[in-house]
Symmetry: C2
Subunit: 283 residues, 2 copies
């Protein structure tokens, strides 16, 4: 008998109402899951409810300042009818529009910041669920992000605990026996995407449970989603095209100016001498 074909199931937890500052998400999740969590499950939690529980709420009027405060590096800006969107690297190393500061699904007059430390938040949830259920579960915090080159958004992982964020295949071989030197699927982002397929269908359901991928679940001290962020110095797209062109133009202009000025000086000097000489001869 051959083993059962690999399969996964994703479902949403129902009945999670509005999450408020100070809410204990472990309690909220357990109340909603009602004993259905199982060994090896991976919970994909919309980071927004974590932000709410952690009270990461600011007045909408302070949104631009909040974005500035969350920003460590401006990557690109885009002007549109509503103002200017800033695509920035935030203090978590995540490159995102508006530093992840979000105004949708929030109370009127407020915006939400990302959790202060999403990996730590994920860990605290995973720890609580593990100790309360006795099951080894993993936790992903997800957020919705646009991306270069492709329209639309996908959910990605901004926090993770107790789950491998990469299915590291480097050093293994493909079906033809060739080494897979660079293949390293980012399963944390794929889990976030899978979660969104059901969470998106059921707006207002911020937690999805993925079953069937227990091999991706591990100790709580596995590297978190922070390890997915590529450092700017190793990124070919660390700056928007227009911004990089502008920087290059400034540098080129300075260098060109100085080269042109030397040449021009010599040309001007020679031209003046020639003119003086003509004048002398004609005098």
């Amino acid at each position: 008998m051959r083993p059962a074909a690999p399969a996964l199931a994703v479902r949403v937890l129902e009945g999670i109402g509005e999450v408020r500052p100070g809410d204990d998400l472990v309690e909220v999740i357990l109340a909603s899951a009602g004993g259905t969590l199982a060994e090896g499950d991976i919970l994909v939690v919309t980071s927004k409810v974590v932000s709410k529980a952690e009270g990461r709420i600011v007045r909408a009027a302070d949104r631009e300042q909040a974005i500035t405060d969350e920003t460590v590096r401006v990557v690109a800006t885009r002007a549109h009818e509503g103002g200017v969107t800033r695509i920035v690297e935030n203090r978590l190393g995540i490159v995102a529009a508006a530093a992840g500061v979000d105004a949708s699904n929030t109370e009127d007059g407020t915006v939400l910041l990302l959790p202060a430390d999403p990996d730590a938040s994920a860990r605290s949830i995973a720890e609580g669920l593990r100790s309360r259920t006795g099951h080894r579960v993993g936790v992903i915090l997800s957020d919705t992000l646009g991306r270069p080159w492709r329209e639309g958004q996908t959910d990605i992982a901004i926090g993770a605990a107790g789950v491998h964020v990469f299915d590291d295949l480097r050093g293994t071989t493909d079906a033809a026996g060739k080494p897979l030197s660079v293949t390293m699927p980012c399963v944390a982002d794929e889990l976030a995407a899978a979660g969104d397929l059901v969470k998106g269908k059921a707006r207002g359901c911020p937690v999805a449970v993925v079953s069937g991928l227990a091999h991706l679940v591990g100790p709580l001290d596995l590297p978190g989603a922070r390890s997915i962020a590529r450092p700017a110095e190793r990124d070919l797209f660390r700056l928007g095209t227009d911004e990089a062109m502008a920087q290059g133009t400034v540098a080129g202009r300075t260098a060109g100016y100085s080269a042109g000025r030397s040449i021009g000086f010599a040309e001007g000097f020679a031209a003046a001498l020639a003119a003086t000489e003509r004048e002398r001869v004609h005098r």
Copy 2:
């Protein structure tokens, strides 16, 4: 009674052996699925097997030329120990390393090109499956791609037929009643990612079946994955940072040179006149 919570299931089709040029993928899939396909299923098919079936195979020695042939625009290049990786826009509008020309999971001495028209290939498979099973199914062709800012790869959709590639929420409202003006999840890419979570676990299984998302399945003439590619002129990252800086530097140098040369000429001219004057006075 409240309705059942939204849920999806993803499984791989087992027993699909090596696919060869000329193979009929509809037959291959039906043989493997053994009557298990159902109304509203979405098949996520690794584009590699489509390339193989379509005979999109070239000699490995011709790989660099093949990449050049598939390229319509170089976006960025990266030098590494093994040579230079070119990140390019290919003729499908997809930005990918090596134009999607792939050497893993291929026979020795060969590389695979992407399908000539992945949306058309997806449509032909979807059409065949629909007419043979009587079920309305959707088809996504997936490929594995790296991305800016984040380490590792995720599977994305390069072809689609009979399935909505976006779950277009623009014009709807969020749970708080605010309009979702830009939210447009790219469910095709999320489906490809979900498929990879089980296909990756079971290397050698190129087809995953997603059940439970029948609301995303539609007519065969829905826009394909081509509609996901963002045109370069609307992309903030249409060129790598180094490439854009280099272009900016050239433009800046030319402008700076010409400005510097005018100033330098005037300065040189004045300096020569002053020197001549001093010489005259001292004579």
